[in-house]
């Protein structure tokens, strides 16, 4: 049985959330969509130009670089973050002494503001003052790679820092998943003579399918949240070579004030983000159904 109410009461209850959400989330997307088909300088009224902004995007090498860099971060996150986090979660759920202390420590970077994370890592990655190159010198390697600020390594460095910030969070999700596994199954397999590795390969991993799905979804959507790291570490430079989609959109909109081109980029980011979320959600559902 539910509470019987009037339409007016229902409306009053839902109105504040509905209004705020519509004005500050739904309307902005429609706004971006509209302005992406115009030429708009922020002062005079926008002029309809059709798909011109989108055609300009196809010829814009900085856009393709930022798309590629976003892809690099996604690829490295999927290839490194998930296996490393899983490994660490397995270690911590084993009989490691003091794992109750290690878990919150590993998680700590996840609560640090990303902009502060960027600042901290300057002191490790900066070619002139950073620890990384000082270390290389100290061990006798004279090479001084341009971890940030150079033309090739920057996106990989950003990906590495992103991975550093995310790992504790992912470890914790895997850890929670491992702890929820039924104990009897693992005990039975030990009695049957399975070693730790066989257990992992044939029992833990298959039973954690859903957790792997959640982690994948979080990693994919998390890639579109990489902004502050680029902002603090490289500012997108040099010549936009280390830009990601979101930072490039920010640069075009707020630094160069090409509003309608910025809105076209925003629409593309929105579409890629929405499709990525939908695909991972659909994938998770199919996996859940397959079980």
């Amino acid at each position: 049985m539910n509470w019987l109410t009037t339409r007016r009461q229902f409306t009053l209850m839902i109105a504040p959330a509905f209004l705020l959400y519509t004005v500050f989330m739904v309307y902005p997307i429609l706004y971006s969509l509209y302005y992406s088909f115009t030429a708009f300088d922020g002062v005079s009224s926008p002029e309809f130009v059709g798909t011109e902004n989108y055609r300009a995007m196809a010829d814009d090498s900085a856009f393709w670089t930022s798309l590629r860099n976003t892809g690099v971060i996604l690829g490295l996150s999927l290839l490194l973050l998930i296996p490393l986090a899983f490994l660490l979660a397995v270690l911590l759920s084993g009989q490691v002494k003091g794992s109750a202390v290690l878990r919150p420590l590993v998680f700590a970077p996840a609560i640090v503001a990303p902009i502060l994370v960027g600042l901290v890592w300057i002191f490790i990655l900066d070619p002139d003052i950073g620890l990384a190159n000082a270390f290389l010198l100290a061990v006798g390697v004279p090479a001084q790679p341009q971890w940030i600020g150079g033309s090739t390594l920057s996106p990989y460095s950003v990906a590495l820092v992103h991975l550093w910030q995310q790992i504790g969070f992912v470890v914790t999700i895997f850890y929670a998943g491992i702890r929820m596994l039924p104990r009897e199954v693992l005990e039975a397999s030990t009695l049957d003579g399975a070693n730790r590795f066989q257990q992992l390969r044939h029992i833990v991993v298959p039973m954690l399918r859903e957790t792997f799905g959640i982690v994948t979804a979080l990693v994919v959507t998390g890639v579109f949240k990489v902004f502050e790291l680029v902002y603090a570490l490289t500012g997108g430079g040099p010549a936009h070579l280390s830009e990601v989609l979101v930072s490039y959109m920010y640069h075009i909109t707020f630094t160069t004030q090409q509003y309608s081109y910025g809105m076209a980029l925003a629409v593309v980011v929105f579409l890629i983000g929405a499709v990525a979320s939908a695909l991972t959600l659909a994938g998770m559902r199919r996996r859940a159904a397959a079980r």
């Binding site: 539910n2 509470w3 109410t5 009037t6 339409r7 229902f10 209850m13 839902i14 504040p16 959330a17 705020l20 959400y21 004005v23 500050f24 989330m25 309307y27 902005p28 997307i29 706004y31 971006s32 270690l91 084993g94 009989q95 490691v96 794992s99 290690l102 919150p104 420590l105 998680f107 700590a108 970077p109 609560i111 640090v112 503001a113 990303p114 902009i115 502060l116 600042l119 890592w121 300057i122 002191f123 490790i124 002139d128 000082a134 010198l137 504790g168 969070f169 929670a176 979080l218 579109f224 949240k225 502050e228 902002y231 979101v246 959109m249 707020f254 925003a266 629409v267 980011v269 929105f270």
Partner: protein, 281 residues
């Protein structure tokens, strides 16, 4: 005889590996704290020596930065937007799951729920410029409300996802008992259901406070008044303020980092369970 020894070496290797990885993860934070006691020359020449440590950078940092203003603004933003956001989200979630009215059907509720949940797929960065224009149009620019309203809006989809999930499983018997006791709609929502949702609300409060505390893109776009600076905005300015004084920059970073880590240490259990609950739901 081989039996008990094998797992033991395995355990030692696993323990060593776990401690090593944890140390590597924590190292960048420790490094900043350590360097913040070094002179600028030492940092520039990368001659890190532990014998000549001083508090000079901290004196420099506290003189140049208005840390108190940053913290005050961030606390105001976090308190107002999280409290208001949770109340508003709870009202909506309550209406979406527990209220049935005579003239319309459940279809309205479920399509409204999907309308809210669609927001989960929106990367907030695409909202920046439109929200900037909306704030100007509404005359919010230069006030705390310029950030508070979008912060609430952005957290609504996830709050509603979690709250409707729990409210759907809310036992009807409690509602029936309250009905018999003659509770009205208002009393039902606030005096009966709201207090029982406390665990979920606490989880959401933690997640939302962390979000607001660390939020940067909206702050950098919507705040141009130095008296409204937030912590994350202040951090981003360290680079500009001390273009060559790396020691002071690191001392400033440490001054922001330490309180955040202390609060985390106090609440880490709830923070971690909140974060995982958020991920798993």
């Amino acid at each position: 005889m081989n039996e008990p020894r094998k797992p033991r070496t395995g355990r030692i290797v696993a323990t060593a590996a776990a401690y090593l990885i944890t140390f590597v993860i924590l190292f960048p934070l420790l490094w900043i704290a350590l360097l913040s006691f070094q002179s600028n020359e030492n940092i520039l020449n990368r001659s890190f020596s532990l014998d000549d440590l001083s508090l000079a950078n901290y004196r420099q940092a506290t003189q140049t930065l208005n840390l108190l203003v940053m913290y005050k603004n961030t606390l105001i933003l976090a308190f107002v937007s999280v409290t208001a956001g949770l109340v508003i989200s709870f009202m909506a979630a309550f209406a979406l799951t527990r209220m049935v009215f005579r003239t319309t059907r459940r279809r309205v509720q479920s399509s409204l729920r999907y309308y809210f949940l669609a927001g989960l797929a929106v990367p907030v960065y695409v909202l920046l410029f439109p929200v900037y224009r909306i704030d100007i149009a509404l005359g919010l620019f230069g006030t705390h409300a310029a950030l508070i309203l979008p912060y609430i809006a952005v957290t609504i989809p996830f709050n509603i996802l979690l709250l409707t999930g729990f409210l759907r499983e809310f036992p009807e018997e409690i509602e029936q008992a309250a009905l018999i006791d003659g509770v009205g709609l208002w009393g039902m929502a606030w005096k009966v259901v709201f207090p029982l949702m406390r665990p979920v609300l606490a989880t959401l409060a933690i997640l939302n406070v962390i979000y607001v505390w660390n939020e940067f893109p909206f702050a950098v776009t919507l705040i141009n008044d130095p008296t409204l600076t937030t912590v994350s905005l202040g951090v981003s300015q360290f680079q500009g303020v001390y273009s060559v004084d790396y020691g002071a920059m690191m001392a400033s970073a440490t001054l922001v980092l330490v309180p955040q880590l202390v609060v985390y240490a106090l609440f880490q259990r709830q923070v971690i369970s909140g974060m995982t609950a958020g991920a798993i739901r």
